[in-house]
Symmetry: none
C-alpha cells in the first residue's frame, strides 16, 4: 500500500504545466514558489479566503503565471495535500510496522502518538481542507485522505490481528479498532492546541493516547 507514488493518483501529472509541457528548471522553480506561497497563505489567510490573485501577488507574479501550472486553486492545494498524504502516510505506517507490539508495546504506542501529534501540528491547514473537502464529497480530496490514513489503518488492523491475546471485541473487528484508534489519534492531534487551553497538556494527551492504543492493540483491554 502506498508503494505506488508518482504513478497512481491524480497528481501524476503534477510536474507538468497546464499545456502539457514539462517545465524546465526555471519553470519548476516558479511552480515550486507558487506551491510554497499557497501553503503559506493557507496557513495565514485560511482556506475560505484563498484566492489565486493573492497567491500570485504574494509570489510576485502575474495571475496568468499561476494558470500555467495549475488549473485552479484546488489543484494547487491538492498537489500539496497529495504530497503530504503520501509522505506522512508512509511515515506513520513505518512507525507502526517497524514497532514491536509484543514486547515493547509501550514504546511503540508512544512513538505512534508522537508521530501523529507532530505531523498534525505541522500540517493543520492542509488537514482541515482535506477533511472538509472530502467530507463534502470531493472525491479528489477523499482519495487524498485515504492515501494518508489507509496505510495507518491497515497497519494498525494488522497489528491488532497479530496479537493472540487480543480482547474479544477487538478480535471480532480489527478494522473497527484500527479505525477508532486512527480517528482518535487524528482528532486529538488536530486539536492539541484547543485541548491544551482546556487544561490537557500535550504530554498528558500523548500518554493517554498511547495508553489507549497499547491497551487496544496489546489486548490488555
Amino acid at each position: 500500500m502506498s508503494t505506488a507514488v508518482g504513478a497512481g493518483g491524480s497528481s501524476g501529472d503534477g510536474l507538468r504545466a497546464v499545456d502539457g509541457r514539462i517545465p524546465g528548471r526555471r519553470g519548476q522553480q516558479t511552480r515550486a514558489r507558487l506551491l510554497d506561497v499557497t501553503r503559506d497563505l493557507l496557513e495565514t489567510t485560511g482556506y475560505r479566503e484563498l484566492r489565486v490573485v493573492d497567491i500570485a501577488r504574494m509570489a510576485d507574479m502575474s495571475s496568468a503565471t499561476f494558470y500555467q501550472y495549475f488549473h485552479d486553486v484546488h489543484s494547487a492545494i491538492l498537489v500539496l495535500a497529495d504530497d503530504f498524504a503520501v509522505t506522512s502516510g508512509a511515515r506513520l505506517e513505518a512507525v507502526i510496522v517497524d514497532a514491536d507490539w509484543t514486547r515493547r508495546a509501550d514504546e511503540a504506542a508512544n512513538q505512534l502518538a508522537d508521530a501523529f501529534l507532530d505531523i498534525w501540528a505541522r500540517n493543520q491547514p492542509l488537514l482541515r481542507v482535506i477533511d472538509l473537502a472530502s467530507g463534502e464529497g470531493d472525491e479528489r480530496f477523499a482519495a487524498c485522505r485515504r492515501r494518508l490514513l489507509n496505510p495507518v489503518g491497515e497497519a494498525l488492523a494488522a497489528a491488532v490481528r497479530a496479537q493472540v491475546a487480543a480482547a474479544e471485541v477487538a478480535r471480532r473487528s480489527p478494522n473497527a479498532v484500527a479505525g477508532v484508534l486512527t480517528a482518535m489519534l487524528a482528532h486529538v492531534s488536530a486539536h492539541q492546541r484547543g485541548l491544551e487551553e482546556w487544561g490537557a497538556s500535550v504530554d498528558a494527551l500523548r500518554a493517554t493516547m498511547a495508553g489507549i492504543v497499547r491497551t487496544a492493540i496489546a489486548g490488555e483491554l
Copy 2:
C-alpha cells in the same frame, strides 16, 4: 409582538432582524424558513458553494429579504450552529451525568457512543463547518464548538475523577482522558460512513468506542 420566542438558540439577539427590530410572527416564519433552507443547502450543496442567492431562491424569496435577517451567510450558519451546539451539548452532557459509571459503566458507555454517532450522523454538514471555521481562527465558531464539546468534556472529566480505582495516568490528568475520549467519539462519529466503507460496521465502532470509554472511565484500563 415578540411573544413568539422559543425558536431562538443561545444567542441573545438571534431573533432580531438586522435593523434591530424584533420581527413579528410573520417575520419569524420567514427567518425560520431561511434557516431551514440554509441547513438543507449546507447538506446538499456543501459549505463551499453556499450562496445567499441560492438560499433566497430556494426559499422563494428575494436576496434582499435574506439580508433583513442575517448579515451574511456565516451569520445564518452560526445561528444554526449555535442552536445545534447548545442543544446537543446539553443532550450529551445529560447522557454522561445521568449515567451510573460505577455499576452500569457498560451501558453508560454504549449510550454515550450511540448519542455521538446519532448526533453526528444528523449534523455532519454543520459539524464540518464548525470544525473548519474554528480551526481557521474564527472565534464565533470556536465559541460554538466549545459550547458543544465543553459540557461533554467537563462531564467526562468529572466522571473520571469520580472513579476511585482510576489508573495512574487518568488520575494524573482527567482532562486529558476526557479530551481524548471526546475527540475519539467525535471523529469516529464524523467519519462513520467512511469507516464503514473501509470495513468497520457501525455496531463494531460503537462497541469499540464504548469499550475504550468504559475502560478509561471505570479505571479498568
Copy 3:
C-alpha cells in the same frame, strides 16, 4: 419680489401628505420630526450619504412613514431649502431696504455683511445642496436659489441705482454690481471657516466686504 410666499413655489403643497390629505396634528408632528432629522443628518452625514432609511431610523420610524409625507429625499430637502430661502431672502432684503445708504452707508454695509455671515454660518449644509443641485440643472433647487438671492439682488440693484454719484461702471450695470456683490457676500460667508484657517479673521472679512459693498453702492468706487 418674494412677496408671493405660500402660493407660488413648489412647496405650496408642503403641508399635504403624499396621498393628498392634509395631516392632522399628529401627522404634522411626524412630518416636522422627519424634517428635523433630515436637517440634522444633512449636517452630520452630508448630502452624499443621505438615505431615507437613515432618516427614518434616526427618527425612530419606519421608512414607510417617510413616504407618507415626502416623495423622496430630495422633496424633503427641498421643503427645508424653500423654507430657508424664503425666510432668509426676506431677512436680507429687509436689511438692504431698511438701510440708509446715503447717510449711513457704512453701518448699512456692515449690517448686510453680518447678516450674510450669520445666515450662511447657520445653514451651510442646505446652501451647499442648493448650490450643487441648481448648478447641475435641477430646476426646483434653482428656483429655490432665486427665491433666496433675487430679493437681495434686486434690492442691491435698486440701492445702486438710487445713488446719484454712482461710478460709471456701476451706472452702466446696476445688476452686474448687485450680482457681484451678492456673489461675494455669499461665497465669503460660505467659506468663512476656511478663510479663517487661512489667516483672515471674521472681523476682517466682514470689514472688507462691508468696505467693498459700501464703495460700490455709495459710488465711492
Copy 4:
C-alpha cells in the same frame, strides 16, 4: 514601460493601477480614456448620477477595467480635480504675479477677472464637486481646493501688501482682502450663466469684478 509619463497630475501615485503596478503604454491610454469619459459624464449627467457602470459603458469597457485603475468613482474624479487644481492654480497665480499692479492695475485686474471667468466656465462640474465635497469635510477634496485657491490667495495678498498707498482696512488684513477678492471672483465665475439670465452681461461682470479688484489692490478704495 512607464516611459509614458506626462499625463499625470500632482498625485504621485496617480498613474499607478490599483494593484500597485505602473501601467504600460496601453494601460495609460485606457486610464486616460476612463478619465476623459468621467469628465464628460460629470458634465452631462451630473455628479449625483455618476455611476461606474456608465463610465465603463461609455468608454466601451467592462466595469472591471475601471477598477483596475481606480478604487471608485471618487478616486477618478479626484484625479481630474487635482490635475485641474494644480494647472489652474498655477495659471491664476501667474496672472497675478506677472502683472504690474502699480502702473497697469486696470489691465491686470481685467486679466485676472477674465482668467477666472474662463477657467470656471470650462470646469464648472469639477468645481461644483470640489466645493460640495470639501464643504462636507472630504479632506481629499479640501486639499484639492486649497491647491487651486491658495496660490491665488497668496499672490493676491502679496500684491495687496506691495501697494504702499493701500487703504487702512487692506493694510490691516491683506489676507482678508485677498480672500474676499478670491471668493468674489470664484463665485461670480461659477454663476456667470445665472447672472446673465438675471440681467448682468459677462462683460459687465468682468468690468465690475476688475474694478473691485483694482480698487482693493491698488489702494484706491
